[in-house]
Amino acid sequence: MTTASALIVVGVDGTPESDVALAFAIDEATRCRDSLEVVTAWETETSLTSVDLVYGVAEFPTEAQAQQQAERRQQEALERVLGGRPHSIVIATQVVRGQPGPVLVEAARKARLLVVGTRALGPVRAAILGSVSRYCARHAEGPLVVVPATAEPEDYQVVSTRE
């Protein structure tokens, strides 16, 4: 099953729950020596609801700015989760315009695993499931791992398999 070039795709949007999913994916890629593709989707529509815009302290971002913001969110998430620790995996990154669900399902077409987080939390947890994880569960062509935000991030410490 595990081939040298097997690929794990993980969806990252910069939220704490996506950090947990990213940690899980890095851990799994490290143990299986798979390569990892970190995918971040962005839409200008979602930017319209950002707090900065509501309070009028930010301009409407241009497409180039939205792309840059998504790239920065992705890089910051990687820095947070890797925490400067050495790692031995090949990490590719992709920042794509589009809805996260379809973007991730497309990116994972040839992947061994697609990994997403879910923000289902608290007493209302049973009633909601992240729309992205739900979309992926319905549409992903390959195995999907949904990592709950309640999973312990320390379970997924990055383990270097090489000196």
């Binding site: 595990t2 390959g142 195995p143």
Partner: protein, 148 residues
């Protein structure tokens, strides 16, 4: 790779696919696989019956698969909890919690009466109630998938 995997199967061919995947994800000699098959009971005038008419065949089928895994050297146990209708997902999640599982594997759809349902009620409930990552195994390619 995982050390403690709980796999929920209903004994369908789709469950077989999930079982193959589970085996490939076990991390090594210390890794343990727990196969869970939940039997749902429904009460009627004549007494209480398993929800699936072919329950015995399903259980036998899974048991032979478990034996096959044991023969192949996999550390595997087979749990067959019986519950009243309502909560296979909760039962599976509780078992995973008690075993400190690091992954639950489930097929996206098993023996569903409603073939238009693209994601079964058990996996979707599991995604909501499980405390550890859940791996959803999709249907094989030959099944038609509805468009988005």
């Amino acid at each position: 790779m995982f050390d403690r995997i709980v796999i929920a199967t209903d004994g369908s061919a789709h469950g077989d696919r999930a079982l193959d995947l589970a085996r490939s994800l076990l991390s090594g000699e210390t890794a343990r696989l727990t196969v869970v098959h939940v039997t749902e009971l429904i009460g009627g005038k004549g007494g209480v019956f398993p929800r699936a008419a072919d329950e015995d065949q399903r259980r036998t089928r899974i048991a032979s698969q478990v034996e096959g895994l044991q023969a192949a050297g996999v550390s595997v146990e087979f749990l067959t909890p019986t519950i009243r209708t309502g909560g296979p997902a909760h039962e599976i999640a509780e078992i995973a919690d008690s075993l400190k599982a690091d992954l639950i594997i489930v097929g996206s759809r098993g023996h569903s009466l409603f073939t238009k349902v693209v994601l079964g009620s058990v996996p979707i409930r599991l995604l909501q109630v499980a405390h550890c990552p859940v791996l959803v195994v999709p249907l094989p390619d030959e099944h038609n998938r509805p468009e988005a």
